[in-house]
Symmetry: C2
């Protein structure tokens, strides 16, 4: 059932990666290696404003004409600014792909950045930032990022009020010229399309683009674990935990992912059963594996009542640490079945596959097939997980809490 | 590209509806016609507690064994309690379907409702209710439901503190016996499975189930439009609007849906372009068509700053009303392309298709094929939309706002 993956490198450093299938729908994701991590100093949020202004007219089309043209092709737009990159994505019927790529080439290479519209986009970004105040869990994780990373990765794509307010149209133009460059960019396409025709079209649309954006460098984090509280008059207490894990290029990566599923994957996963079901401590609890280039990490989360929050934090950290003592064969087998089934299900969607392909190429410089991932997952043993935790022990937990109650740092 | 739909009625009133394809994955949704609308008086939230306790042990399996058994089959659980019904859904590889259906028959027909666990589930429901306080938009729409409907549909599945606190184990048992019944229930299956084998298995698993739950009756709404404000110290102002539209059984239904897309579908849709892009008034604005059996309605939403909230409400209501003046050919064509592409894309997912099949059967007593829906959408004309608005004019807007600022009721 594996689709074949093709890739084609342009001489300017852009890579086209595709998985043609016989589906009616097609999805694409154009990843430009310009994220909030490499924003100019003092301009936090600029990437996100630039991404959204790029859709307000491009090439020969003004803002209204461009959004009509996208709608005429039935495109469901996706993507957005992120920490390491920005993506310009979309999905529609395969027969519209060629027209869609023409529009996206204009959006990314020739946005009009119109004088009379960019401020409205910036205002919306400011509103989005304000809305964080009403989303306690998101606010807590933005704060975690700002304090846990010491490299450019500390800048969340949502930006800061100060940064957003200082942006000028000149900044947007200069930043577009400096950072929206083909070297290292990836165009991933999945679904019903013709590979050879798309290669030819992409050469034509992007072949004469040139340049290389500044690199983010390796992510760096605090040397001492954080323990921070944000006082806010909310009903629920938010608890976030961050700690390092396995980078996606490391041989222990699959052991890390499978262990993560045992911790927080299926219904019977440890966190749900210990923290949620047995003790009824929390409504939401989870741990998610995450990664930037060169760094794997885990983000733990719990949302609970202020009264139960200290116990929740204590129990959560104990469960995270306990993984080091090893996993049982039965929970390992369960995680494997769950992960491989989930993989098959997610591949059903062209959109999710296009995103996965772009992400694989970004992290690994190649695309993993469904078979490869399945094989690697199934090869993980309890010993492999133990060995992985020896190299990457769950420790040095950084904790950020938000809510009415300041908690005690657990002694571990 | 249309899959064939099959249906099979059991003598007890349960209908099995299926769309077998050649996919590896399969998804199902078992819809039981017991929702919050028909909860016993004073027990608001009982349905939701019952749905979640049903997974805490069923048939021969205790809570731990059941969640392990579901994980062993790689099942991604879905569904939940809703206003008109509860659904018990899942997705996994096709080869596990038969074992999965055995478990789901136990979950729905023979939950253990264990004495030592049901209170933890009720506690989590109370926490979920508390978390509404930190989700201003959700809270506003729950309030809208409570005040806009006058029939049982006024009860949101999330319940009330009073209702949840008054629930006993006896209530859960009695309610399960009274309301979890096959008459009118629907089991929808989509993806890689064998129809004939599934019919035989479903007869075996559900054939000896019997009973009919009390019916919700037609939804009733307030006779005079609401205009309510919930004072809360939030950063953003939440604005919700509700007004009646076209029921899904009505011949004007497709004109209503296409008009809804012109209002709030693609990038260039009226609300985005008038309220968001041009004026930069709001970060989020939308209007969604919704329906219960016998009633179609539209829910409008805007999230904005307190300063801009009066203008946002005024402009929003003007745009909603203006639809009555008719739509242009070009925006109509755009909506058609968008909707038919979106349809093809959503059909890629077995899970979304199983949900769609169950929902179609619930609303219409039959399943619409992709071709039928595409045809009906493409047949909509500007005249048909005008005629639809003559019968169902956008008026009598009920408005609920939440935030720091009390707004003036616009004169319309």
């Amino acid at each position: 059932m594996n689709a074949s993956t093709f890739s084609h490198s342009l001489s300017n450093g852009l890579t086209l990666v595709g998985e043609p299938t016989n589906k009616q729908a097609v999805a694409w994701s154009l990843l430009v290696p310009a994220g909030s991590a490499t924003e100019p100093d003092g301009k936090d949020g600029l990437t996100s404003v630039l991404e959204s202004v790029s859709y307000r007219g491009a090439g020969d089309l003004n803002s209204r004409q461009l959004s009509d043209a996208l709608d005429d092709l039935g495109i469901e737009r996706g993507g957005g600014a992120d920490v390491e990159y920005s993506t310009f994505g979309g999905a529609t019927l395969g027969l519209y792909l060629s027209d869609a790529l023409k529009l996206y080439a204009d959006i990314v290479r020739r946005p009009r950045l119109p004088e009379d519209e960019w401020e409205a986009a910036r205002d919306l970004a400011l509103q989005s930032l304000d809305s964080l105040e009403d989303s306690p869990a998101r606010k807590m994780f933005v704060q975690m990022r700002r304090n846990w990373f010491t490299s450019g990765h500390k800048r969340a794509a949502i930006g800061t009020r100060e940064g957003l307010e200082s942006i000028t149209l000149g900044d947007l133009k200069a930043d577009h010229a400096a950072r929206f460059c083909p070297d290292g960019a990836i165009l991933a396409v999945a679904g019903g399309f013709n590979w050879a025709a798309t290669v030819a079209q992409v050469e034509e649309l992007f072949g004469d683009w040139s340049g290389k954006a500044p690199q983010a460098g390796e992510p760096q984090i605090v040397s001492e674990p954080l323990f921070q509280h944000i006082e806010q008059d909310t009903a629920q207490q938010q608890i976030g935990v961050a700690y390092t894990g396995v980078p996606s290029t490391d041989e222990d990566f699959y052991a890390f992912r499978v262990a993560g599923d045992i911790l927080s994957g299926g219904m019977g996963a440890r966190l749900f059963s210990e923290v949620r079901e047995k003790r009824g401590l929390v409504y939401s609890v989870s741990a998610s594996a995450a990664s930037h280039r060169g760094l794997g990490f885990t983000l733990g989360y719990a949302g609970t009542t202020p009264e139960r929050s200290q116990e929740t934090l204590d129990v959560l950290l104990v469960e995270l640490q306990k993984m080091r003592e090893g996993v049982r064969e039965d929970e390992l087998e369960r995680a494997k079945v769950r992960m491989t089934s989930a993989l098959v299900m997610s591949e059903e969607s062209s959109r999710s596959r296009a995103g996965g392909i772009a992400r694989d190429w970004w992290m690994l410089g190649r695309v993993r097939s469904l078979d490869e991932v399945t094989q690697k997952i199934n090869a993980v043993t309890p010993d492999a997980i133990r060995a992985m935790y020896e190299r990457f022990p769950p420790q040095n937990f950084s904790v950020v809490t938000l809510g009415p109650k300041k908690l005690e740092r657990p002694t571990l």
